[in-house]
Amino acid sequence: MTPALLAVKSLTVRFSGLVAVDNVSMSIPERQIQGLIGPNGAGKTTLFNAITGLVRQDSGQIRFDGVEITAMPPHRRAAAGMRRTFQAVQLIPQFTTLENVLIGLHAAPHTSELAAQRAVVEVLEFLGIGPTLLRPVAELSFAEQRLVEIARAIVARPQLLLLDEPAAGLSAREVATLDALLRRFVTDWGITILLVEHVLSLVLEVSDAVTVLDNGRLIAEGSPRQIANDKRVKAAYLGEEAHA
């Protein structure tokens, strides 16, 4: 059995009485794309925030690459090889693409400015947005901005990449491109991915395994096909639709 890159054990997060994440355990082996789905308010983003250290858990443990990181502050987790993107694209508007992505290399072991800039160029070419290098990000299209944020997250070759709804607002064609890119992150750069997504087609298409949350609780785990046919999952989403 391959050792888990990320192991979350019995994680619970409460916000003034409300239980956002309820005793969730999951483990992700290396070089896998793990999908995380669930209706709105299921606790997916909170789980992300707990894993990356932005939110403190009330109980439970997190192990990353064999190291207990439960008490580690967010910037140390990032330096240890865990990066993420955000639901709403968070770039520095006055900066160019180059400067924004260079931020991703802040914690990288000491490289020269020149080497860092070369790494940025490489990652941008890999994502197909090379020409945006010196343009202010405020001028870029929405899809380009999303890719710049992803570039910032992967430029330091993280071990684990957490993507928070990367397909939101993208056209069908852009989603397909993203799909292919995610696969290449794993095969070409050896990155493990934890993917939160509402666009179910993308998740089921690209994931190796899927975890389903509802009301903070883990209600199902398995292969995409198993999940697609799981009654509890359907009920959870239907429940959402019924209340919508």
Binding site: N49, V55, R56
Partner: protein, 291 residues
């Protein structure tokens, strides 16, 4: 000087600090910004009162009212011309505007009055001090304490129970949300600034007989008002008042039992200690760790 006298004097000064703190908390509660010009507004109020009372020989209550009204107008004007345009900017921008305003006001008062130090004759003329046991209390001090308490109670009721007060709180928590719900945030801001400036100017007229009048007097009051507000937890009106009294008393005790030089820095010491030990003050709430 007996302890009681010191304490009462401390209460009197403290009520001034409480008023300053009130003005700071008001603006902070609505716009989430610290008004660095608040000390200067107090100073302007004091000089307006001085001009009216000493130069134009108007009666003290009238001088007070004039200062308060003009203060309110000043606040509304500042809000309309500078702040309205900047409501969406970063805090640093807004704060910088208040810094600019503070210097502008200082210079504007220094122009006619120069760097001289003036004294303000007391409101009750030659009325002697009242004696309670071994405590000697000047009537001016009693007036100050009384006005401060009355205003604080009014503010507290206003914020807690009137619809405008609730609108102001809503605007501070979420300006866009408040707009969506139909609150006229422009009016809220105008009222806030007018009120805060009016209180500040009024505090200035009350301060004038107790303190010395000079264009640079504002900073000291700003810092002490801030110490009071911090002590009370920056978002609490009763806290600001209690904080003001405490600062006033501690300052008097420092001055009475240690030295007058030390009295000047007592506010700083309080600020630093409070922020170290209990950053959300005596009555403030522990901030939620939101992500």
């Amino acid at each position: 000087m007996s302890l009681t006298t010191l304490v009462v004097a401390g209460l009197a000064n403290g009520s001034l600090y409480a008023l300053v703190a009130l003005g700071l908390v008001l603006i902070f509660k609505t716009q989430d910004v610290v008004n660095f010009a608040h000390g200067e507004i107090l100073m302007v109020g004091a000089f307006i009162g001085f001009t009216a009372f000493d130069r134009l020989a108007l009666p003290y209550p009238l001088a007070f009212v004039i200062a308060v009204l003009l203060g309110g107008v000043l606040g509304a004007v500042v809000e309309r011309t500078a702040f309205r345009r900047l409501a969406h900017e970063q805090h640093i921008t807004l704060a910088m505007v208040t810094v600019g305003l503070s210097f502008f006001l200082k210079g504007a008062v220094r122009l006619p009055y120069g760097g001289d130090i003036y004294t303000f004759p007391p409101a009750f003329g030659a009325a002697g001090p009242l004696v309670f046991g071994d405590a000697i209390i000047a009537p001016q001090n009693l007036l100050t304490i009384g006005v401060a308490l009355a205003l604080s109670v009014l503010m507290f009721l206003f914020f807690g129970f009137t619809s405008l007060g609730k609108q102001m709180r809503a605007t501070q928590q979420n300006m866009t949300g408040a707009r969506i719900v139909g609150i006229d945030t422009g009016r809220v801001f105008s009222v806030t600034w007018s009120l805060a400036a009016a209180i500040g100017a009024g505090a200035g007229v009350l301060a004038a007989p107790i303190s010395l009048l000079y264009p640079d007097m504002g900073t000291g009051f700003l810092l002490k008002g801030f110490a009071a507000a911090v002590l009370g937890g920056f978002e609490s009106i009763p806290g600001a008042v209690i904080g003001g009294f405490i600062v006033g008393i501690i300052e008097m005790l420092f001055g009475g039992y240690i030295s007058t030089a030390f009295q000047q820095v007592s506010a700083f010491v309080i600020i630093i200690i409070v922020l170290f030990v209990r950053p959300y003050g005596l009555l403030g709430r522990k901030p939620l760790h939101r992500v």
